[in-house]
Symmetry: C2
Subunit: 593 residues, 2 copies
Amino acid sequence: MAVYKAPLRDMKFVLNEVFRADQLWASMPDTRETTPDLADAILEEAAKTTEGLLFPLNRQGDEQGCHWHDGEVTTPDGFKDAYKTFAENGWTSLTGNPEYGGQGMPKSLSVLFEEMLHGSNTSFALYPILTNGACLCLDAHASEELKQQYLPRLYSGEWSGTMCLTEPHCGTDLGILRSKAIPNDDGSYNVSGTKIFITGGEHDLTDNIVHLVLAKLPDAPSGTKGISLFVVPKYLPDADGNAGERNGVQCGSIEHKMGIQGSSTCVLNFDDAKGWLVGEPHQGLPAMFTMMNYERLSIGLQGLGLGEASYQSAVDYARERLQGRSAHGTQNPDSNADPLIVHGDIRRMLLTMRAWNEGGRALASYVGMQLDMAKFSDDPETQEKAEERVALLTPVAKAFFTDRGLDTCVIGQQVFGGHGYIREWGMEQFVRDARIAQIYEGTNGIQALDLIGRKMARNGGQFVQDYIADIRQWLSEQADNAVVREFAAPLERAVATLEEVTHSLMTQAQEHPNVLNASAVEYTDLFGLVTYAWLWARMMAAAEPKSGDGDFHDAKLTVGRFYFQKMLPRAWSLAEQLQAGDDAIMALGAEAF
Amino acid sequence: MAVYKAPLRDMKFVLNEVFRADQLWASMPDTRETTPDLADAILEEAAKTTEGLLFPLNRQGDEQGCHWHDGEVTTPDGFKDAYKTFAENGWTSLTGNPEYGGQGMPKSLSVLFEEMLHGSNTSFALYPILTNGACLCLDAHASEELKQQYLPRLYSGEWSGTMCLTEPHCGTDLGILRSKAIPNDDGSYNVSGTKIFITGGEHDLTDNIVHLVLAKLPDAPSGTKGISLFVVPKYLPDADGNAGERNGVQCGSIEHKMGIQGSSTCVLNFDDAKGWLVGEPHQGLPAMFTMMNYERLSIGLQGLGLGEASYQSAVDYARERLQGRSAHGTQNPDSNADPLIVHGDIRRMLLTMRAWNEGGRALASYVGMQLDMAKFSDDPETQEKAEERVALLTPVAKAFFTDRGLDTCVIGQQVFGGHGYIREWGMEQFVRDARIAQIYEGTNGIQALDLIGRKMARNGGQFVQDYIADIRQWLSEQADNAVVREFAAPLERAVATLEEVTHSLMTQAQEHPNVLNASAVEYTDLFGLVTYAWLWARMMAAAEPKSGDGDFHDAKLTVGRFYFQKMLPRAWSLAEQLQAGDDAIMALGAEAF
């Protein structure tokens, strides 16, 4: 059966031993209160909540799903009570702005909590995670009045939030959206249009639902430069700020999906619904990106969390299931078969899962710390550098975490053999739940285009070059570490490969307008592999002084070696593929497919 | 929405232009009647049946699923009538032995039909495909009396067949199975035990269900050498050979699965059920392997068929869905967006799917022809060589087709963006239906162990060396073909890489008993990539003389180039990974996972 325990030991290793997050937090006024003890206490409470409250609802939530009746949506049994407890215990306000009732915790801590949320119950996780994103967007762009009106109730968990972008004819291409907003005399707007695929668009968990909606003003320029952002609550706040009169937004239906059955995915019909502009007219898309960038990392963590859950379950099964004999001779003489875990192929599968998960956790923490520096540092240069690094790595995290998340869940299911295909065992749910993360919040193809276009080519490769310089700098600083010496050559090869391919693609792009689009996904995979090589080297460097314990730190070195020997080489093939250009991709006429 | 058309043009290309199957059929007495015209007619009728009768039941079959009530199983609406029509039209007897009512068609033809079956409706396909396998096993191993009793009604489709191997505590490791068979005085046996995961173990499509059951005789040696095979019908044949008295086998429940919802997956309880020995006592496993080897290729075709269906659907969507503008400038000025198919990344996805599908179709046909030579040739040397080739390539086909089948279905789903995750669109069903093919009929890990152990190491790499020699022989014969010259170097590199890795693994295995197990899956992937390189070269060589038509044959060359430039390089990485040995895999203690 599927199991889930928050991987606290590994989380603390990454935070405290690899990245010394405590030192960063202590160095900035707004995060100074996050002492190592407080951080540990939060992680331990988070573990209790996710293991004890959310994971037990995961399997049943999948079987029951959400149900729509006459505009109302019922979530699976237990979700409503759990949400109440969850909110009362403060989990909906963890990173919120303290001026409006948030707890102001650093992102480098909350990424670990979000991983736990997704690992224990992705369907449930999506409600608070969308709410967090909506808060971030309002906090950054809304008027003081709107913030006062919405943020405290969103942080408290009484209300929840959504993001309403997609329409039936447009997903990726928001420039062609049709929803309209007509100004009223009182400063509000009447918003009309149909939005689809709205996660948490309607449900029974909270007293009110606050929609952030993209729509066009009557005088809007065409394309993405004519999109504005509105806050449109399900119930209009009354004079006391409570949920009052019903607004003109209705849930027309919910989708029947492959997975995340406990998460309602709604068609929302806005019919002269009252809304208020967030930020400036026609500046809705950049404002929404505040939310989307946040969500992209969070959705990345969906892949990682589910990968971790799948790994733990697969290890459990591989230790218990007796099948076949070790190639090394009988290991379990008391029975007529050895446990699966003696077999090289099973170990290869488990190590692959683990190397993806732990590499991903390190990257999530790294990006989390960069987000903290961007938000909390008082040094403009540090801030700017951190913002650039976040911009560069967010699409990598979203796409690579979720692609590897699916891979990992598929492998975990495979370890279970036939039982992996049977619903009761829970392993196939991880696969179905993980699959959406490659699609929503901008498909992974879109993430890859963001990386190769906006983040790489548009600034002449400067972000990439800065990143490579940092890796080389780290390598030279670590020249005395025995384990780093062991992997300095392949890590330098990885970095040089990324550098060469980056230059090659920019050169190719001068003559081949399609080459960046055609190369984006492979480039992102290469980028992810090289990044994990660096992070594995950092983890090994941190583990090395404590190795020889026959335990945690030794295992870290072994998994790191596995990564370098058995997973990183994929990078060399990707480089060759990318160097081959786009001729074979663009040659075929559309009719010849 | 998902679509399916049998890819007749491509099937005929492989059969007639690449492999000249007509020449092979004409050269052997038992296949001489399969003229090109007859083969075309069969394929065209097969297309009509799969497109018109089976595909329309596919989506609804997934939604309805099978239902169990008090030991009886109801299949989805329409399955029963469709099965009747299907059988009446002769599709259940296509490759059957003519002595008992079969049509004796060559396997190289029927692999294409099986691909259509799986592509149009995998759940439905499993009932006749299991039946075919049971027939093959009975035909090869049963007594004349049993053959007379069972084969005609199985070929006619009045009865269906199953294979009963797995028990709750043993799947892969059949040596530890517990089902028992006690001899009766009349030459029959009383079979008792519980079998799980029995595809088509109970259903409402046929008048009788004929189970082939592995069980142990009272005096059986332990392990796999003590397993015998029995035929155990649901209804005992009466004096006229019709389904008579109910036998002691009951369906205890059906599984709730990730996919193939229209296929019943049953727990079968045998309680002193009357059965008859098939073949010799304790020789059940080799006899069952007759069926399993057949099924393995057929289940490989499940991956291929679903990959084809997913490809066609994705192409359809990519041509129709308007989203974004081409990097090359506006392609569709009549609308505010271009079709998806203009984008390099979408094309990369479609070409990847197509290259896997067409490479797989070529391998299926190649293996089909080898099976025909093994079965129908009157030259013992030809037969033996063909048998060896089939032995070598069957695990590759099963594992590589189904792994690439899942990859392909996942890509196809990705092309649909958010709609790919919604059930009504049908793309996520392909993914769920494809997933089981990597697990059942021996997991792909087991296929890989079969390849690297029995088929490679056990004979000192001789089968692999013979295969490599044939590829090199072909290359030297084709030295004048312009397109072969273009790819002679990478194909030779691919072959040399496989050769080197094969030698390296045999050397490593002398000191490292786990290395074959730990390397099996990567070796199979390498084997598959190299094999497809050869087959793509063969397809390109066949297409080249007809190229310049701006149509089918030109497209073949383009997709072939894509394969060599963008897919084959993965082989070099796999080789590096395999050369790295198993140290990092075996080092970790079981408790450290």
